[in-house]
Amino acid sequence: MSPEKAQAYWKENITTILKLLVVWFAVSFGCGIIFINELNTIEISGIKLGFWFAQQGAIYVFVILIFVYVRAMTKIDEKYGVNE
C-alpha cells in the first residue's frame, strides 16, 4: 500500500472513531452525569430519565456503538482493500 493511501485510510479511521466517541461521551458523561439533574425532571413510567441513562441507557448505546464501528470499519477496509 502506498504511503498516501495508508495515510488516507488512517484519517478515515480516526474520523470514524471521533464521531462515535462523541456519542459515547454524550450518553454516559453527558446524560448520566453532567446533565443528570436536568434530565431527571423528565420521568417515564416511574423512572427519571437521567437516572435511567446512568444505570442502563448508556450501556445499551455502548453496545450499539461498537457494532456500528465494526460495520463502518469493514466498509472502509474493503474500500482500501485491506480486509482479510
Binding site: W24, I33, N40, S45, I47, F51, Q56, Y69, D77
Partner: protein, 631 residues
C-alpha cells in the same frame, strides 16, 4: 431436595465440567499457552472475555453497592462497560495486528527498550496480584457460606481447581473453561433476577422491572406504601422516610465523573483483558469480539441495576419491625399470606456479615439511617459462639438507647441493623424465599465469577514472567535479539511461573492484606495511569519515543500510587484532596499527567528509529494479521 445437597450437586457438576475442559484443551506449544493458538472464534472470545472480566466484585458486590448508594453508584455500571468502547476502537484491533503475546511485548518492542519492557512487567505483576487477592478471598467467602467449610480450606480448593486448567491448559484451557463459566454465571445471575422481577413487579425482564409497579403493599415503619406504586417511587419514599437520601438522587457529580473515567480507562488498560484480544484470528475479529464481550457483560450489568432496587425494597419489606425470634424461626408471614422466613438472617449472622442489636429492647428489628454499632465503620464486634436469649449473636459495641437527634432525623425510627453490602446478591434469593435450586445456582455462579477472573490474572502474571522477563530480558541473545530459550523450556518456565503465581495468590487469599476490597478498586486507577496512555500513544502518536514512554509510565504510576497510599493508608485528611477528588478516581488525573509528561519529554528527545516507525505504520493497517504471529 435439601438446600445443602443441591449446592453440593450444582457446584460439583460445574467443577467437573471445568476440569473436563482443562484435560481436553491441553496446551502443546507456547502459542497455545499464551494466546490459545490464536484461533479462538470471536463470539467464544467475547464470552471468555466477559467471564474473565466479571469478577467476584461484579457478581457478588456490585448490586449490593448500588442498592445502598443508589444513583452515584451508576459510576460502576457506566465505568465498567464504557471502557469496552475504548478497547474496541482504540486498542484491540491494533494490538491484534501487532500480533505478539503480552502487553510488555508491545511496550518493549514499540519503545525499543528493555527498561520499558521491565517496567511494564513489574506494573503487570503489581496490578494483577492486587486484583487476584480479592478473587481468592471471594472464593473463600462463597465456600465458607455455601459449602460449610472453613474459608482457608475454600481458598485451597479454589487453588487446586485453577491449577488444573491454567497450568495444564494455559490460555487454551482458560478460554474454554471461561466460556463454560460465563454460561454458569449468567444463568446464576439472571434466573434469580427474573424471579425477583416477577415477584416484586410482575414483569418478566428485570431490565423492564424497574419501570414496573409493586405487586404488594409494604410497611416501611413509618407508613404503608401501597400496592401498585412505581418501584422507584416506592423505594425513594421508603428510604427517605428512614432518613436516607433518595435512591435516585444524584450526590457528588464531580467524584462520580472522575470515578467513571478512571474505571473506563482502567478497564481498557487491564492486561488480562487486553491479552484476550490476541487470541482471535484477525483484526476484524478483534473488533467484533469486543462488541460481543460487551453484549455478554451488558446482560448481567443491566440486570444488576434492577437486582439492586429489588434487594433494597425486599430488605425493608422483610425485616422492618419484625419480631426477631419469630422471624428467624420462620413463624412470620406477610399481610398477603406469603411466608417471611428469616432463616437466612441467622445463617449470615453466623458469618458475621449481618448483625442486630436491640437498642430499645422491644425484641423487634428496626432499620433506618445511621449506624447501630460504635466504631469508624459501624461494624459489629461479636462475642464468639454466644447468642442472647432471643437468639441473636451477642455483640460488644452496640449503641445504647436511641437519641432524640436520631429519632428526629429518621421520623421517630432508629437503626439497629448492620448489613454487609457484599451479601445482597448472595442472600437476595433467600430473603425473597425463592426455591432452593435458585439459591444453589447462585453459589455455583459466584464461584465461576471468582475462578474465571483469578485464572485470567494468573495467566497474565505467568506469561509476563516466563515470556517477557525470562525470554526477552534474562535469556536474551545479545546478538540476534532473540530468546535463547527453546520452545519447550519456555513452556516449562510458563508452567512453573503459573504454579508460583497460584501459590502466592492462595497465600494472599488466606492472609489478605486488610484492605483487599479497596485495593481492587485501586488496581483500576493504576492500570489506567500506567498502561492506557502508553498503549494509546504507541499506536496514535508515531513520534512517541522510549524516553517519553518511560517518563510517562513512571509519572502515572508513582503519582497515582502515592496519592492512594497517602490518603488511604497514611491517614491523609479528606480536606486536602486534590481538587476534591477521592482516591478511587485519582487514576484519571494520573492518566492525564502521564499523557502530558510523555508528550513533552518525547518532543525534547530524539525521534524513534525508522524500524519502530514502520511498526506503527504496520499496526494501523488491518490486513496480514494472521501470519504476523510467530516470532
Amino acid at each position: 431436595m435439601e438446600l445443602q445437597s443441591l449446592i453440593y450437586l450444582f457446584v460439583g457438576i460445574s467443577f467437573a465440567i471445568y476440569i473436563g475442559i482443562a484435560l481436553w484443551a491441553k496446551a502443546g506449544s507456547t502459542k497455545d499457552f499464551y494466546v490459545a493458538g490464536g484461533g479462538v472464534h470471536p463470539v467464544a472470545n467475547g464470552m471468555a472475555t466477559a467471564a474473565d472480566w466479571m469478577s467476584a466484585a461484579s457478581f457478588i458486590s456490585m448490586a449490593g453497592i448500588i442498592a445502598f448508594i443508589g444513583s452515584d453508584a451508576s459510576a460502576y455500571l457506566m465505568g465498567w462497560t464504557g471502557g469496552y468502547v475504548l478497547l474496541a476502537m482504540l486498542l484491540a484491533p491494533y494490538l491484534r495486528k501487532f500480533g505478539k503475546f503480552t502487553v510488555p511485548d508491545f511496550v518493549g518492542d514499540r519503545y525499543y527498550s528493555d527498561v520499558a519492557r521491565t517496567v511494564a512487567v513489574i506494573a503487570v505483576i503489581f496490578v494483577s496480584f492486587t486484583y487476584v487477592a480479592g478473587q481468592m478471598r471471594g472464593v473463600g467467602i462463597v465456600f465458607s457460606r455455601f459449602l460449610q467449610v472453613d474459608v482457608n480450606t475454600g481458598v485451597i480448593i479454589g487453588m487446586v481447581i485453577v491449577f488444573f486448567y491454567s497450568v495444564l491448559g494455559g490460555m487454551k484451557g482458560i478460554t474454554y473453561t471461561q466460556v463454560a463459566q460465563y454460561v454458569v454465571m449468567i444463568f446464576a445471575y439472571t434466573i434469580p433476577a427474573i424471579f425477583l422481577s416477577l415477584q416484586v413487579t410482575d414483569t418478566f425482564l428485570p431490565q423492564l422491572g424497574i419501570f414496573g409497579q409493586t405487586t404488594f403493599a409494604f410497611d416501611n415503619g413509618v407508613r404503608v406504601i401501597p400496592e401498585g406504586t412505581y418501584l422507584l417511587h416506592a423505594l425513594d419514599s421508603a428510604i427517605t422516610d428512614l432518613g436516607f437520601t433518595a435512591y435516585t438522587e444524584p450526590g457528588n457529580l464531580w467524584n462520580m465523573f472522575m470515578l467513571t473515567t478512571a474505571l473506563m480507562l482502567g478497564t481498557a488498560g487491564l492486561p488480562h483483558v487486553i491479552v484476550r484480544f490476541f487470541t482471535v484470528p484477525t483484526v476484524k475479529d478483534a473488533r467484533v469480539s469486543a462488541g460481543w464481550a460487551l453484549v455478554f457483560i451488558a446482560i448481567m450489568y443491566t440486570s444488576a441495576s434492577a437486582v439492586a432496587a429489588f434487594a433494597r425494597v425486599n430488605l425493608i419489606k422483610n425485616v422492618q419491625n419484625v419480631d426477631y425470634k419469630a422471624f428467624v424461626n420462620g413463624e412470620l408471614s406477610h399481610s398477603d399470606g406469603t411466608k417471611n422466613d428469616g432463616n437466612w438472617f441467622k445463617t449470615w449472622e453466623q458469618g458475621g456479615l449481618i448483625a442486630w442489636t436491640d437498642r430499645n429492647g422491644d425484641g423487634k428489628i428496626q432499620y433506618a439511617s445511621g449506624t447501630a454499632f460504635d466504631g469508624p465503620k459501624g461494624k459489629p464486634q461479636f462475642v464468639e459462639d454466644e447468642r442472647s436469649e432471643v437468639g441473636n449473636r451477642v455483640t460488644t459495641n452496640g449503641k445504647g438507647a436511641p437519641t432524640q437527634e436520631e429519632l428526629a432525623k429518621n421520623n421517630g425510627l432508629h437503626n439497629e441493623l448492620y448489613v454487609d453490602r457484599d451479601i445482597m446478591v448472595l442472600a437476595n434469593p433467600e430473603i425473597a424465599n425463592l426455591p432452593n435450586w435458585v439459591i444453589a445456582f447462585i453459589a455455583a455462579g459466584g464461584l465461576a465469577a471468582a475462578l474465571s477472573t483469578a485464572a485470567g490474572l494468573l495467566l497474565v502474571i505467568a506469561s509476563a514472567i516466563s515470556h517477557d522477563l525470562m525470554g526477552q530480558v534474562i535469556f536474551k541473545d545479545k546478538e540476534t535479539g532473540k530468546s535463547k530459550l527453546t520452545e519447550k523450556s519456555e513452556l516449562m518456565w510458563a508452567r512453573i511461573a503459573a504454579i508460583a503465581a497460584i501459590c502466592v495468590a492462595g497465600y494472599l487469599g488466606i492472609n489478605p492484606p486488610g484492605f483487599v476490597a479497596q485495593v481492587v478498586a485501586f488496581a483500576f486507577g493504576l492500570a489506567a495511569a500506567a498502561f492506557f496512555p502508553t498503549i494509546i500513544l504507541g499506536i496514535f502518536d508515531k513520534r512517541m519515543n522510549k524516553e517519553g514512554a518511560i517518563a510517562g509510565i513512571l509519572t502515572g504510576l508513582i503519582f497515582t500510587f502515592g496519592y492512594i497510599i497517602y490518603f488511604v493508608f497514611l491517614g491523609g485528611d479528606k480536606a486536602d484532596y486534590f481538587l476534591g477528588i477521592a482516591p478511587t478516581g485519582i487514576g484519571t488525573v494520573g492518566t492525564l499527567l502521564h499523557l502530558i509528561v510523555a508528550f513533552i519529554v518525547s518532543r525534547m528527545t530524539p525521534e524513534p528509529p525508522a524500524h519502530v516507525q514502520e511498526i506503527v505504520e504496520n499496526i494501523r493497517i488491518p490486513s496480514g494479521a494472521g501470519e504476523a504471529h510467530d516470532h
